[in-house]
């Protein structure tokens, strides 16, 4: 369970203060995927940086299972839009980075091997990131995160730099592996389609400063062949309406 209470994050840039997140309250149940959707610059990524322990300057309270955020004790898997791989390490060294730092473990165990096979990257182990396509790099980043067996998985628009075909392929692959693990996941996206496809709960953000407009239960999650069903299109419409309403409000205030 992740609890966020009255979270406010302010950035200070050349004496000017910008509010990135304003009064965020959210309880995320364990074992769910929460997708966060909102216009760009609404502070979604800021929230992710708070949850990952990278950003420490905030007011309010954020806890994971009752404890404050501390990447040293918690296992947090982070997957970024630009993959976050270390360019001077080959695929194998990148994949084992998490377990190397967390467990002091240099070698992949059976579970690690299984994840590699699931992601189809077991033949790329001695390549460097620059020798891989974007989709392959993101597979490596996903493998690294899952092999860590994290308590919390944080994903910041991980598929948005990929072409449509690799994106849908990786979304399916990610869901497949996720369903075997059920890691609590916060998934940032700017795509309505992705939010619906991957989120069991959808958190809708307003334009900057980021506030939560609504947390929507997604009845479509866990349905098969989702993109071919009417429910999916109904939910799409519903979500777009919430988004438009919120953004219109935001625009009206300015």
């Amino acid at each position: 369970m992740i609890e966020i209470k009255d979270l406010v994050v302010k950035y200070r840039r050349q004496k000017q203060e910008t509010v990135a997140l304003d009064g965020i309250n959210l309880r995320m149940a364990s074992g769910d995927i929460y997708t966060f959707i909102g216009p760009s610059g609404c502070g979604k990524s800021t929230l992710l940086y708070v949850l990952s322990g990278i950003l420490r300057e905030y007011t309010g309270k954020v806890t994971i299972d009752g404890h404050g955020i501390d990447p040293k004790t918690q296992r947090i898997g982070l997957i970024l839009q630009n993959y976050g791989l270390l360019p001077w390490k080959n695929v194998y060294q990148n994949i084992t980075l998490g377990i190397r730092i967390k467990n002091g473990q240099e070698l992949l165990d059976d579970y690690g091997q299984y994840i590699l096979e699931q992601l189809g990257i077991e033949s790329l182990l001695d390549r460097y990131p620059k020798e891989l396509s974007g989709g392959q790099q993101q597979r490596v980043a996903i493998a690294r995160a899952f092999i860590l067996q994290p308590d919390l998985l944080l994903m910041d628009e991980p598929f948005s730099a990929l072409d449509a075909i690799s994106r849908e392929e990786l979304q399916d692959l990610f869901l497949k592996i996720w369903k075997e693990n059920n890691v609590t996941t916060a998934f940032i996206t700017h795509s309505v389609d992705e939010a619906l496809y991957l989120g069991s709960k959808i958190v809708v953000f307003s334009a900057a400063p980021g506030r939560i407009l609504e947390v929507v239960d997604n009845p479509c999650f866990r349905l098969d062949n989702l993109r071919f069903r009417d429910e999916y299109y109904d939910m799409c419409m519903q979500l777009r309406k919430i988004l438009n309403k919120g953004w219109a409000l935001g625009a009206g205030k300015q």
């Binding site: 982070l78 270390l86 980075l97 730092i101």
Partner: protein
Amino acid sequence: MLASNKWKGAIYSLVLVIIIWQALSWVLKLPIIPSPWAVLINILNIFSSKIQIHLLYSLGRIMGGIALSILLGVPLGFLMGYFEKVDRLLSPLVYFTYPVPKIALLPIIMLLFGLGEASKLIMIVLIVIFQIIITSRDAVKGIPQEIFRSLQSLGANRLQVFKEIIIPASMADVLTATRLALGTAVSILFFTETFGTQYGMGFFIMDAWMRVNYLDMYAGIVILSLMGFLLFTLIDLQEKRISGWR
């Protein structure tokens, strides 16, 4: 394929130098420009008996100097690159001392550290270290912030950040800086070896010159160049090996 091209290039340029040298010696017919063949034969004759020991001394000094510069300069550069405060404190000092012609310091160094090995080593370090400090600092500063995020979210400590990110990200740049500084280092080495020593290529060449033994003098110059070439190639190979990811 590329490697063999490089070797071909080295051989072509060597042949070109020999042709020009030979032509000069034919045209000028002066004892101060002997033919390359005479020098080559002289090298073969005296290398093991006369030159070897001097070469070993010079090699030892230059490698020791470079090793010391890396050992001192790289950690200092890393600290300056990683901690803004250290950089603010030390950068002015580095910028202030970097342009000082180090050769002008030789008399002072000799007075302070004597005529022996220490002052020779210190001179080489003084030449090489600045480039290494500045390059390692800039290499660390050039690492994008996002790269650090994966490690921060894993709760990595400073030591792990240095081991996983900072050292591998900047080693290739450090070697490039070393290679650039090497040329100056060899000429400084030559200069320092003309004082207070009986060993070293600098001593050998100057000694041959004083004895008006031009064949020996050229033999020394050729060996010194070959030493430089060897060191450049060694650094080049290391650079290739550790920057395969680029």
